[in-house]
């Protein structure tokens, strides 16, 4: 039946299509759609209505709530049936609104009970009336008894016969037009009521993207933690053990050749140096204390290690999520690194506060200022981390200082 290649949008076909042949096909499709629609609409409409009545008589009763959800489930089932009608008879592929969207779900109920139901039932009745009238006009002269008269004329005479034929053709034409119009109307109603609106679609997409981005950020975070643990359990323990053994050798082998002794001392120092470097690297990946004890504990660690004198004031009575904590931690860590590298500052003040659903961070140094957020990779890296949790930030850094970085991170309450 009049199924078209997917590239032709169905709406165009039903609303603006032209040409004689096309017109006949559209009329045929529309008629089939309306004829099939009548019994379907009666069934789906009654199903949804029954579910609705059940819900209505149980209002106020605990089971009422379940019934309300059952209406939506029944309605959804009916939408699926209707979708196959649109697809099979008109070639219109409806993208049904996902069950998650309750507003769209209730709109679907109204389609089954009112809009779609009326279009199908009234449309079908009108179509049948037109057909019957056209059929009567054609068949009247044939089945009329010989010499039967109407309005004083013999129906088999050429004049009334041709008059009736013209009326029949006109009625048929009207039925065809009506079928096309009904199909177009039904398509519009179904698209408006069974599909998501553009705004809803976008809102859903935004929600989807937000969730998937949060997943990606969490996954990256989990990966850092895994690497940290692997290094902690593996390389670090091995290196500590190696350094200890070299230390024992150094302490006990006192009467060996000075060259050998020098080599041992050298190896011992190297091992300790490697240990320090590895420790700093691993802690930079993800500090275990952040998970155990939160921001205050983790930040005092980096503040103490900072070469610039650092004061820390953390007032976060309620811990934010692990991801937000990690972002806050790394943002401050990165900011401190920047201060040490570029600012030529004597002191840094770090403030972290929680105000409702916001985590407020302020890093203030007394350095030379002139930090350009767009210039360094450090500040850009900060921006990416902050954006990944929908946070915002600002840098205030006049030439001559001071530089103040303010960050706001939203945290779920």
């Amino acid at each position: 039946m009049g199924r078209q290649p997917a590239t032709v949008t169905c709406r165009d076909r039903y609303l603006y299509g032209g040409g004689m042949q096309n017109g006949i096909r559209r009329a045929w499709d529309g008629t089939a759609h309306t004829v099939a629609g009548f019994p379907l609409a009666v069934v789906t409409g009654s199903l949804v209505l029954c579910a609705g009545l059940f819900a209505m008589v149980t209002v106020g009763h605990p089971v009422g709530k379940t019934y309300r959800n059952d209406i939506l489930a029944v309605s959804r089932f009916c939408s699926v049936i209707q979708r196959s009608r649109f697809s099979a008879l008109l070639g219109v592929e409806l993208k049904l609104a996902p069950a998650a969207s309750r507003r769209a779900a209730w709109r679907g109920v109204w389609y089954h009970v009112i809009a779609g139901f009326l279009i199908s039932v009234i449309g079908f009745s009108l179509l049948v009336s037109l057909w019957s009238a056209a059929g009567a006009a054609v068949l009247l002269p044939v089945f009329n008894p010989p010499n039967g008269r109407m309005l004083g004329m013999r129906l088999s005479d050429p004049l009334p016969w041709s008059g009736l034929s013209i009326i029949a053709v006109l009625l048929g034409y009207a039925a065809a037009k009506l079928a096309i119009g009904l199909a177009a109307l039904d398509v519009q109603a179904a698209q408006a009521m069974l599909q998501l609106s553009r705004a809803e679609e976008l809102a859903l997409r935004v929600q989807d993207l937000t969730e998937s981005r949060a997943d990606v950020v969490d996954a990256a975070d989990a990966e850092r933690r895994r690497i940290e643990r692997d290094l902690h359990d593996g390389a670090q323990q091995r290196l500590v053990s190696l350094a200890m053994n070299l230390g024992m050798a150094r302490a006990t082998l006192t009467d060996v050749d000075p060259k050998a002794r020098e080599a041992i001392e050298h190896a011992h120092d190297e091992a300790k140096q490697a240990l320090t470097e590895l420790r700093q690297l691993v802690r930079g990946l993800h500090p275990a204390v952040l998970e155990d004890r939160g921001l205050d504990a983790a930040l005092s660690g980096i503040a103490a290690r900072s070469p610039v004198k650092t004061r820390l004031n953390v007032d976060v009575p309620k811990r934010p999520s692990a991801t937000v904590e990690a972002v806050a931690y790394f943002v401050i860590s990165e900011a401190l690194t920047n201060v040490a590298k570029h600012a030529q500052a004597k002191a840094v003040d770090i403030e972290v506060r929680r105000r409702g659903d916001l985590l407020l961070i302020e890093v203030r140094d007394d350095g030379r200022g002139g930090a350009d957020p767009l210039a360094g990779t450090g500040l850009r890296g900060l921006a990416q981390r902050i954006r990944s949790v929908d946070g915002s930030w600002s840098v205030e850094s006049p030439l001559g200082g001071p530089t103040v970085i303010r960050v706001e991170l939203p945290c779920e309450s």
Binding site: A243, M244, L246, R279, R283, V289
Partner: protein
């Protein structure tokens, strides 16, 4: 001296056992889990327990919690906590209550065998040993206050004092005379309004109490 070791890395555990056995300590038990270590401590009542912070099953702070249990239930047993990273917060928890017979060191310090063994003996003898990193973390807690009035040299002395070192040890570390150290110590106690304290570990206590007063 009888020692129980709780360390989950086999390599390091065996290394520690070897080191202590050859240095005049007697390792009576070594375990890889905090629970097992605790039951060994209960059973054997050693003089000293060495605990790694991160141990199975959750690899977060089991060792630290075990250390707190030991300190609460058997205060006569000395505890030394080893950690891959020293965190000021862990130190504060460990030292809350009383500050004798306790130590908290970075695992790296094991490499300096002599100093490590010395630290063990100090803790077992009733002293306090804190890693220099913890001390520097504690020093920064104050937003502004009397610590800012200390000279750089006095701050260095304070840090070494908090590690539980004697005047002589501080003098050696800073290449100054013992009497100079004494002068610095007096200045520090005056500037910080601390009651005078004679023994090394009471000094640590006083300093730590002062440092632990959180700014609000």
């Amino acid at each position: 001296m009888r020692v129980v070791i709780g360390e989950d890395s086999v390599l390091l555990r065996e290394g520690l056992v070897r080191l202590l056995d050859t240095s005049g300590f007697e390792v009576v038990a070594a375990a890889g889990e905090a629970e097992t270590t605790l039951s060994k401590v209960e059973e054997l009542q050693p003089d000293l327990v060495i605990l790694d912070v991160r141990m199975p099953p959750s690899f977060t702070d089991e060792g630290l919690r075990a250390a707190l249990v030991v300190r609460r239930q058997w205060p006569a047993i000395a505890v030394l906590v080893l950690s891959q990273y020293v965190e000021e917060r862990y130190a504060t928890e460990l030292l809350s209550g009383h500050t004798s017979r306790v130590g908290y060191l970075l695992k790296d310090r094991v490499a300096d065998v002599g100093e490590f063994l010395e630290a063990l003996r100090r803790v077992a003898a009733g002293g306090t040993v804190l890693d220099p990193e913890v001390v520097s973390q504690l020093l920064l807690r104050r937003r502004s206050g009397p610590l800012d009035r200390l000279t750089k040299r006095e701050q260095e002395v304070l840090a070494l004092m908090a590690e539980g070192r004697s005047n002589l040890a501080i003098a050696t570390a800073l290449f100054i005379t013992e009497s100079a150290v004494g002068k610095h110590v007096n200045n520090i106690f005056t500037k910080l309004d601390l009651p005078p304290a004679d023994s090394d570990h009471r000094r640590v206590l006083a300093v730590l109490q002062h440092l632990n007063e959180r700014p609000k």
